[in-house]
Subunit: 340 residues, 2 copies
């Protein structure tokens, strides 16, 4: 059974209170006594009992804030489920989770939400950081005010977060390319639809995809790269263009949302099994297309687990004082019609 403060106190011939002061680096203990206690604690490999700590902690809960992206991304709903899961699991230990869902991707809105959370007195914030000077400055200001920051989904240069939770999007792009190469043994022409080149995760996927193809010297040629801003009608138009201008098109890689538009277009042209499609994120739309056979592979990032990890990592950092040794890499999952 684990060692308790009481046992250490008995061995050191002092009271629990003294041991407690030493272990929590509080003043009021002679240095000899301190050394003695520290040595005993080390010898017995004392590990503070989490229950006792939490029971005390639970009086004034640690508040944490989470800043998501706008709701129109179905990804967010699954993530929210994971957040709620973690909240339920950890609430008896004394945490309060305040989730904020912005309406836009405007840096001004994100900053004002961060200000809100600061006023609410949070000790930590997890957020999808925007690559913008204003938000960067705000984030670093929060860190200086002793608010722990955890970035999610996309890493931004120049921010002092204590941890990052998310996927390696570059690897995701490489994985997509590798799958497409398996689907098209004799190569061919393909088109790309990316969400927006201003979002780093789509850029990463795109460069991972291109690198993998050029490295392997596989006869796949990227016809064009078009942006659809996650919109399905744009994806629809782009797909039609691709197929009309290049009748021999063999595949389409979609890095962001709006996959439904691609499916619609291919169905219209009766190409939904001939043209191979790979996309990201398991959404109702992508599941439908996976089942219909239009989409061959979906590359997922387990949003529920991601949401759970967000809360868990912040919780362990703030409450258990566990400093994460590494960033939390959400594994790349490949999904087919059968593996769902």
């Amino acid at each position: 059974m684990p060692v308790t403060i009481k046992q250490i106190a008995e061995l050191a011939n002092v009271s629990r209170g003294t041991v407690d002061k030493v272990l929590n680096d509080r003043p009021g203990v002679k240095s000899e006594t301190r050394d003695k206690i520290l040595q005993i604690a080390k010898e017995l490999n004392y590990q503070p009992n989490f229950l006792g700590k939490a029971l005390v902690q639970s009086r004034n809960p640690v508040r944490i804030g989470i800043v998501l992206t706008p709701e129109y991304n179905p990804f967010i709903h699954d993530m929210l489920a994971g957040i709620r899961n973690a909240e339920n699991e950890f609430s008896p230990f004394g945490i309060d989770v305040s989730v904020k869902m912005p309406f836009s991707l405007e840096p001004t809105e994100q900053v004002s939400i961060l200000n809100e959370l600061e006023l609410e007195g949070v000790s930590g914030i997890a957020l999808f950081p925007l690559n913008d000077t204003m938000t960067k400055n705000k984030i670093n200001q929060l860190v200086e005010n002793n608010i722990a920051i955890l970035t999610c989904n996309s890493r931004i240069e120049g921010t002092n977060e204590f941890c990052f939770v998310g996927q390696n999007h570059y690897k995701g792009g490489r994985t997509a390319a590798g799958l497409l190469m398996k689907l098209l043994p004799s190569g061919g022409d393909i088109g790309m639809i990316i969400s927006s080149s201003s979002l780093s995760c789509h850029q990463d996927r795109s460069s991972g995809f291109k690198d993998k193809i050029s490295e392997s010297q596989f006869p796949i040629r990227i016809l064009d790269i078009q942006e659809n801003q996650d919109r399905k009608d744009d994806a629809f138009k782009i797909t039609l263009e691709y197929c009309n201008h290049h009748p021999d098109i063999k595949g389409i890689y979609v890095t962001g949302g709006g996959i439904e538009g691609v499916g619609h277009a291919l169905e219209l042209l009766n190409l939904n099994t001939k043209v191979k499609v790979i996309c990201h994120d398991l959404t109702p739309d992508s599941i439908t297309l996976l089942n219909s056979g239009c989409v061959d592979f979906v590359i997922g990032q387990n949003p529920e687990q991601q949401g759970y990890q967000l809360v868990k990592t912040l919780f362990e950092y703030l409450v258990k004082k566990n400093i994460p040794t590494d960033n939390v890499e959400i594994p790349i999952t490949i999904i087919t019609q059968d593996s769902l």
Copy 2:
């Protein structure tokens, strides 16, 4: 903040002890008082604070036992890591985990290990059940002695476990077939190597694989199904035979261990990129072959998560009295060279 027993007691004008008796179904409370307390608890949606419960519980820890399979399966080591993870996470809540690793798959050995655990006074056991009358009887006897049983990896008919943790192997087989169909757009002849037809999980994979192919009426023909008992030298011989007898062989599906033998044989024949290979379980061997390009897809079952879930489910059942609503299905993960 959550409701406590104390608050309920104040509202009902009784003491904490009385409320405690009601909530724990202990005698010594007038029925009117009992009803009143129950109503208040319901109105306030009382949820017992887990910390308090656990703090009490931690005095006499719950012992649980885990019966694995022999060590020679590398799968087991990763699983053990997950078990240790869970053990560390839950040990302050009062559990003791006793892991047993048998030397064989003999029913007699499993039964004697179960007897051992029973003598150790465990309240719950997780095990890889063997499909054998003797073990079945022993398991059901343990259940009658009020020891909770959790089966893992393969379900056995006729046992009264409270939950099952594992993968849907039939679905795994279907997934493998679906992937092979994507790899071979024009179909072809393939060979199968299964571990042992006496183990239900390999049978399930095999029938899932065959069903998927016949359902989709895809021009893939299964040449033969050979057993290798997880041995790499047997896999080597079988692969050589397949390739020599059927020079136009297009793919090989391996349900169990010994994949290294397949890779060796294909390398020898210079067929390691021409013949498509799909196998199960992420092991050092399968990772090597994935990287060399010989194996196209590995279907994994996340042994670490599986081990973690084993302990967690038993813990929640025994300590938190959470009766799992469903079996815990370990998701099927598809792994490629790039997604590793």
